[in-house]
Symmetry: C2
Subunit: 391 residues, 2 copies
C-alpha cells in the first residue's frame, strides 16, 4: 500500500545537518559542521558513579513510572539554579523534557495552529525552524539593522501581524554566536507583554561564557507568563543523556503536562534520579569552568587562524561564548555550491542557507570550534582558505 | 497575558488515570488502579551492572549525540527478537522511541489530519485515545458481537468510511485483558491490505503470557507495509527507562526519522547502550519467565478472590496474560459514581468509562493484578465487594 500521510508531513524536511554529519563522520574529514560538545570533557566517571549510587541504593522506584512534570528534587535543584540567574522560579515552574528540543516541540504543539506565524531571528537554530515547520507555521523575521534589532520596525511588524510566538536564542546564538544586549532584552520583554505574544527564550549555550559579564536572561526581565525559558544539560553535562527543562508559568505547566502525557508519558525516571545525584554530589560549576577554559582556547585559536588564513574580504563573528563562529564570504559566493569542493578536501562546514527560515542561498557558513582539536582547527582552516581563495 | 492555545488543545484531556494515581499513591490505599509492573521484580543489579560497564569502558561516545533511528547494535538485537516472533524485520525496520507512547505520538503526527478517523477497539488503551485526540482525530469503533470482531460489520464500516488508521492491542489488551484469535488477526491483516489502511499493532504485554500458546502477531501475518508494530521494554525490563521501538517498512522509517528529529532529536544514547549491554550479557528470557510466574500467581489469586467475594451478577474477563482484569457490574451501576465510596474504603480501581472513545458511562472497571501483593489482593477485593454489595 502507499502510505497517505498527514498534510503537515509536506512541511517536514530532513535535517540537512544530520544528513551532512553522516558524510563528515568519516575519520579523515576535519569537521567544523557538527554542533557536538568535546567528548573528552564529558564527566564520564562522575556520571558513572551517579548511576551506580542511584541503582545501588536498593530502591526499585528509580526504574518505575514517574510523574509527567518530573522528579521533584531535581525540579527543586533546577529552580534554585534558575533563581541564581535572576529568574523567579519555584519547583512548580520547572518541567523536565527529553532535551530542549522536546521543549520546542511541546510548546509548538500547544500554541501553533497551521498558518500561525512565528517571529524569529534570521538566521536561527535549524532544529527550531524544523519543529515549527512540522506544525505548519509561517515565519516572520525580526528586523535588524547592522546586527542590532530595529525596534521601530519590530513594533510595526508586531502591530501589522499578530505572531503567535517569538523565538529567540539571545545568548551565543546558534548559528552566529551573537548575543543580544541588555537593552535589546529589555525591549523584547516589554514588547512581549505589551502585544501579549509569548517569547521562547532558548538558552542552551548560556553557561559557555568565555569573557565579559553574564547578561540577564529575558525571562528575568519580563512578566512571568511572557517568557518561556528552555534549558538543557546537553552542553554542560552530556547531550546523549537527553535531559532539558522548561521554565514557565504554572498555568502553562498544567498544559505541558497534558501534552507530554500523550507524547511520551514522562522523561526517564532513572535519568532524572542520576542527574539529581550528579548535581548534588559533584561540583558541576567546576566542571563547567573546565569546559569554558577548553572551549575558549579553541575559539581563540579559530579566530587567530581565520585572521592568518583569510583575506579581509571575508568576515566573521567574534562570539564571547557558545560553540559557533559565523563566517561570511563575499556576496558572489554560495556556500552550498562550495561544499562539495570542501568535502573533497576533507573539510566540512554547514552552509548558512540551512539556518534561514526565509532565504535560499547565502555566502555564509557555520563553523564549530567546540569539537575539533587544535591541530584540526589549524589544518582545516588552512584547507578551507585554499578552497575559498578570495584575494 | 492570557495564553492563546492552538485548537488541538481543546481536544486534549488530562489523563484521568494519572490524576487518579495521585490519590491512590497514599500508602494506606490498596490500588488496583495503576498499570505499574511489580517493582520488586525489576532486575536492578543487572541494570546497574549494565550502566556501570557501558560507562566504565572509557568510551565517551556513550554520552554523545546519536542517530535519530537509534543505536545500530540494539536495532539488530531487537530485529532478531522480532524475527523470533515471525515478523520479518531487519535492523533498518527498527526505530527506537522513548517508550511505545512516543511511537503512538509519532505515527499520529505522520498520519492524522484534524477530523481523520481512527478505528479502534472499544474499550481501548487510554493513552492511545489521548494521543489520537491531541491530533484532533475522530473515532470509529470496531464492531464486535459477544466479544468477537463482527467481520461483515467491520467490512461495511471500512467501505462506508475510510479510516486513516486502525489501532489494536491484540494481545492481553489494556484494559480488558482479552486477546484476538488467530482467525481475527488474519482477517485484520487481510482487510488492512485490501482497504489500504495501516494497522497499529500495540504489543506491550505480549511477553506476559501465563498459559496457552503464543498467538502470531498481526504484523507476521500481513504485508510489510500494512502493519506498524509497537514494542516496549517497559513491562519486561522497567518502565522508568522509557525505551520502546517501532517495526515498520523502510519508507515509513525515513518519515519517522524526520518526525523524531523535530520532536526530540533522538532517544538517549546511554540508555540504548546500557539496554544493549543488558540484552547481550544477561538472560532476559529467564527474567521474563520470573515475571510470568509471579504475575500468574497474582492473576490466579485475583480470579479466585473475585469468585469468592462477588455474586454471579458480577462478571469479569479471565485473561491468559497481561496485567489487567475487566470487571463488569450489573447495568444499573456506574463505576465513576462508585469510586469515591471505594476510595473512602481505601481501595482504588479505574472506572471503565475512561477507556471508551465514544461512551460516557459504564458499569465496568479495570483491575490491575501485577502491582498489588497477595495480601492486598485479598483485602482489597473483600473491601470492594462490600461496597458493591450486589446480591
Amino acid at each position: 500500500m502507499t502510505h497517505i500521510y498527514a498534510e503537515r508531513v509536506n512541511c517536514m524536511a530532513n535535517s540537512a545537518i544530520r544528513e551532512l554529519l553522516k558524510v563528515t563522520e568519516q575519520p579523515n574529514v576535519i569537521s567544523f559542521a557538527g554542533g557536538l560538545p568535546a567528548p573528552e570533557l564529558f564527566p564520564l566517571s562522575d556520571i558513572r558513579e551517579s548511576y551506580d549510587r542511584v541503582l545501588g541504593a536498593g530502591d526499585p522506584s528509580v526504574l518505575q513510572y514517574g510523574t509527567t512534570e518530573g522528579f521533584l528534587p531535581l525540579r527543586e535543584e533546577i529552580s534554585a539554579q534558575m533563581r541564581g540567574k535572576g529568574i523567579q522560579a519555584e519547583a512548580d515552574n520547572i518541567f523536565l523534557t527529553n532535551g530542549s528540543q522536546q521543549g520546542l516541540d511541546l510548546i509548538a504543539k500547544l500554541f501553533l495552529n497551521p498558518g500561525d506565524e512565528v517571529l524569529l531571528q534570521n538566521p536561527s537554530y535549524l532544529g527550531a525552524i524544523q519543529t515549527f515547520r512540522s506544525y505548519q507555521a509561517n515565519f516572520r523575521v525580526i528586523p535588524t539593522f547592522e546586527g542590532i534589532i530595529d525596534i521601530p520596525a519590530l513594533e510595526l511588524s508586531l502591530q501589522a501581524c499578530q505572531p503567535k510566538l517569538i523565538y529567540l536564542a539571545p545568548t551565543y546564538q546558534n548559528p552566529t554566536g551573537t548575543t543580544l544586549t541588555i537593552e535589546e532584552r529589555k525591549t523584547i520583554a516589554r514588547l512581549a507583554s505589551q502585544y501579549e505574544i509569548p517569547v521562547i527564550e532558548d538558552d542552551p549555550y548560556g553557561e559557555l561564557r568565555y569573557e565579559g559579564p553574564a547578561i540577564a536572561p529575558i525571562k528575568s526581565l519580563a512578566a512571568e507568563d511572557a517568557v518561556i525559558y528552555l534549558g538543557t544539560f546537553s552542553k554542560t553535562l552530556a547531550p546523549g543523556l537527553r535531559l532539558g527543562w522548561i521554565v514557565a508559568d504554572r498555568e502553562l505547566i498544567t498544559k505541558l503536562i497534558v501534552a507530554k502525557q500523550g507524547t511520551d508519558l514522562h522523561t526517564s525516571t532513572l535519568l532524572q534520579r542520576a542527574t539529581h545525584y550528579y548535581l548534588t554530589h559533584f561540583n558541576a560549576s567546576e566542571h563547567i569552568e573546565k569546559i569554558r577554559q577548553s572551549y575558549k582556547v579553541r575559539r581563540d585559536l579559530m579566530l587567530a587562524e581565520l585572521k592568518a588564513n583569510f583575506s579581509t574580504q571575508v568576515i566573521w563573528t567574534e562570539p564571547t561564548g557558545g560553540m559557533f563562529i559565523w563566517l561570511t564570504l563575499p556576496d558572489n559566493y554560495d556556500t552550498v555550491k562550495l561544499l562539495p569542493r570542501a568535502l573533497a578536501a576533507n573539510v566540512a562546514y554547514v552552509p548558512g542557507a540551512h539556518f534561514f527560515a526565509r532565504q535560499e542561498s547565502s555566502s555564509s557558513m557555520r563553523l564549530n570550534f567546540s569539537n575539533p582539536t587544535a591541530l584540526q582547527i589549524k589544518q582545516g582552516l588552512k584547507a578551507l582558505a585554499e578552497i575559498v581563495a578570495v584575494d
